[in-house]
């Protein structure tokens, strides 16, 4: 779950990390009003989208008057911002963050991130002026009090005067404490700047929180509403509540698959057979029959779908018949205009085939995944022709 810059900064400030004064604005008038109320001589108007490289792509603008802040906001709000991290369509800017401009003499990069290979939290630091390979990695240890690490050594690498080194180490420690306390998989401050008055300020912040830890962060669940409602596909978000990982794709073959690994394998097989998927689907083990019915209706309602491919391997926790029942209920509620090709294996595969007959759902049974993929591709091609 990715947080917006303004959300991440407000969270970091609670851990003592200094941030520039600023407010969020949803319209040009609000942006101008923020600049006026906070008395900014110069301010920065920043598009709030969950993607990096905003500055290089016009998403961060400097304004030297209240009127100019309003004009900059007008240029940003309501338009998509395209960066290397947003994809070609870009992301719609709904808000801008209006922040006081901060003069600084040095830019640092500080991140705390989960290192999957080491199974540990690491601090990544580098001089922004140095190359991207010049990063230094410091392993952190979780402790009763939060997190421990050699922040002094990481700070010393920047060769600052001693008092600044201690202050930087303290800021790094605060950033790491925030990461642990908030269950963040990533906190990235790029840049953390050194001001002329000798303070380190987070000019930008990216934070990504662990979905699986939201149960102990009711405050973050509130932020998620703001952050994801606009960013994610509403269909995918609704499917997620039904225990289904669902993603819209642009092909013509609807996919019904249980398990993430089998779902990825099915995408690969379908491509190998010359087909293009209309969606990604992974039915989680926790999905009920009605959840599966909900997901199947998403596919049946997609006008681009020329064939449906059901590839299910019943396991110990999700059996074939549960999925067949879900499809049966869905088809009774809403007819599926596309032919349904099924490959059933594993737990209760034969029983599931009988469930399709009981529901009166016509399916084309296939012996293996490869035959199923090829059959679906042929049917979709025929329908398109």
């Amino acid at each position: 779950m990715n947080l917006h810059e303004f959300q991440a900064k407000e969270l970091l400030a609670q851990f003592g990390v200094p941030i520039p004064r600023g407010r969020i604005a949803a319209s040009p008038a609000e942006a101008a009003s923020v600049a006026r109320r906070l008395g900014f001589a110069q301010c920065v108007v920043k598009a709030q989208v969950n993607a990096g490289d905003r500055a290089a792509n016009g998403g961060i603008r400097f304004a030297s008057s209240v009127d100019e802040a309003g004009r900059m906001a007008a240029e940003l709000i309501g338009s998509p911002l395209v960066t290397a991290q947003t994809g070609p369509a870009g992301k719609l800017v709904r808000w801008v963050y209006v922040e006081e401009a901060v003069a600084f003499k040095r830019e640092l990069y500080v991140a705390v991130v989960v290192d999957r290979t080491a199974g540990a939290l690491v601090l990544v630091t580098r001089d922004r002026d140095a190359g991207p390979d010049a990063g230094m990695t410091t392993r952190l240890e979780l402790s009763e009090a939060g997190v421990r690490g050699d922040f002094e050594k990481a700070a010393a690498a920047f060769r600052l005067e001693p008092s600044l080194t201690s202050l930087l180490a303290k800021r790094m420690s605060q950033i790491a404490q925030a990461a642990v306390a908030l269950d963040a998989m990533l906190v990235e401050i790029s840049p953390l700047v050194l001001t002329h008055s000798g303070e380190f300020i987070a000019l930008d912040a990216k934070m990504s929180a662990d979905h699986n830890a939201l149960f102990r962060h009711p405050d973050l669940i509130g932020l998620r509403e703001v952050s994801e409602a606009e960013d994610g596909d509403p269909i995918a978000l609704a499917a997620d509540l039904h225990q289904i990982n669902y993603m819209r794709l642009d092909g013509d073959i609807g996919l019904v698959v249980n398990g993430a690994g089998l779902a990825l394998a099915t995408l690969d097989l379908l491509h190998a057979a010359g087909g293009r998927p209309a969606n990604f689907m992974d039915i989680r083990t926790t999905a009920s029959t009605l959840d599966i019915a909900y997901a199947f209706e998403l596919i049946a309602a997609n006008p681009r779908v020329g064939a449906v491919l059901v590839n299910v391997h019943g396991g110990g926790m999700q059996r074939c018949d549960t999925i067949a029942d879900g499809i049966g209920i869905a088809v009774r509620r809403r007819a599926c205009p596309a032919p349904i090709v099924v490959r059933l294996a594993g737990n209760n595969a034969e029983f599931a085939a009988s469930r399709f007959r009981s529901y009166g759902v016509p399916v084309i049974e296939t012996a293996d995944m490869w035959e199923a993929a090829n059959t679906a591709v042929q049917l979709a091609t025929r329908k398109a022709a």
């Binding site: 990715n2 969950n50 993607a51 990096g52 994809g87 991140a111 991130v113 989960v114 290192d115 999957r116 290979t117 199974g119 540990a120 939290l121 690491v122 991207p132 990695t137 240890e141 979780l142 269950d183 990533l186 990235e188 790029s190 990216k206 990504s208 662990d210 979905h211 699986n212 830890a213 149960f215 102990r216 993603m247 794709l249 698959v257 398990g259 993430a260 690994g261 089998l262 779902a263 990825l264 394998a265 995408l267 690969d268 097989l269 491509h271 190998a272 990604f280 989680r284 083990t285 926790t286 391997h313 396991g315 110990g316 926790m317 294996a345 594993g346 737990n347 293996d368 995944m369 490869w370």
Partner: protein, 291 residues
């Protein structure tokens, strides 16, 4: 012979009295697993599924001589349960719980370092030794005892490949679900090491997917050891929808986002046979073993 467990392994289940655990452990007992106790805090002294229930792992292990624990505890308490098992000196801990917070798993990994415990999971279907013992939630209908060791990041593909290797007339020595989470217990590389040391395992199948660094680590180990046993790999996700990237830290820390192609290339270079398609894994192993 098998790896990690066998018919004599004395198993406890943490969270035994829960509804899902009761169902799955009942299946395990029917399969032949030697369940000797359950652990549920506050339920010590009771009996469940015909075994005694203890308040703590230490008591259960001391009373029953158990060396393995299946953790069937909800996500919020799963890490504490794993740590309790590690502290009690349990040799094999298998955690099937899904959605354990990553920060909790980092805590567990710190505890594992220097301990005598091997952890499988979390978010794992478990360990299956066909015909002997089952520690997990996998389907067993297509499993047969045989010479192929399977280590996998995906539960659904393990079921698939078990069925394929049985249909190919081979069968399995042990299947290990290393789990689908970013921070987990033993990985593909350590599984390879176990299978290479196991005389009953003649060939090894690795099932990997995009993301993480497990396949690359296994490839590096295989390249170094240059083993005689044939190793077949399936890596899925070549056509996975592009993931949204956030920031630059991922690029600065090694192994955050391995592509399917990079993983296949690393494995191929180490001498691993890459299954050309997901439906051909069993046949690829059959050709390598039988010709």
């Amino acid at each position: 012979m098998a790896v990690l467990a066998n018919r004599d392994t004395r198993v406890i289940c943490q969270g035994l009295t829960g509804r899902a655990a009761t169902y799955h452990v009942g299946r395990m007992i029917a399969y032949g697993t030697r369940l000797v106790a359950g652990v549920t805090p506050g339920r010590g002294g009771q009996r469940h599924l015909d075994v005694p229930v203890f308040d703590t792992v230490a008591e259960a292990a001391a009373e029953t001589g158990a060396t393995a624990s299946l953790v069937f505890v909800p996500p919020a308490n799963a890490a504490d349960a794993m740590i309790e098992a590690i502290d009690a000196g349990i040799e094999l801990v298998v955690c099937v719980t899904e959605r354990v917070p990553v920060m909790d798993m980092i805590r567990v990994r710190q505890k594992l370092a220097g301990s005598r415990t091997r952890l499988v999971g979390p978010n794992s279907q478990g360990v299956l030794v066909p015909g002997e013992t089952q520690l997990g939630v996998m389907a067993t209908i297509n499993a047969r005892r045989g010479p192929v060791g399977i280590a996998s990041r995906s539960a659904s593909l393990t079921s698939e490949v078990v069925a394929q290797t049985t249909a190919a007339g081979l069968g399995q020595s042990t299947t290990i679900g290393v789990g689908g989470d970013p921070v987990h217990g033993i990985g593909l590389a350590e599984s390879v090491r176990l299978f290479l040391d196991d005389p009953a395992t003649e060939g090894i199948i690795l099932i990997g997917e995009i993301g993480g660094n497990d396949e690359e680590e296994a490839a590096a180990l295989i390249k170094r050891l240059a083993p005689d046993k044939p190793i077949v790999a399936l890596v899925v996700g070549r056509h996975a929808p592009a993931q949204q990237r956030m920031g630059h830290a991922g690029a600065l820390v090694a192994g955050q986002a391995g592509s399917a192609e990079a993983k296949m290339e690393a494995l191929r270079e180490a001498g691993v046979l890459i299954a050309p398609r997901a439906d051909l894994v069993g046949m690829t192993m059959r050709q390598a073993l039988v010709g």
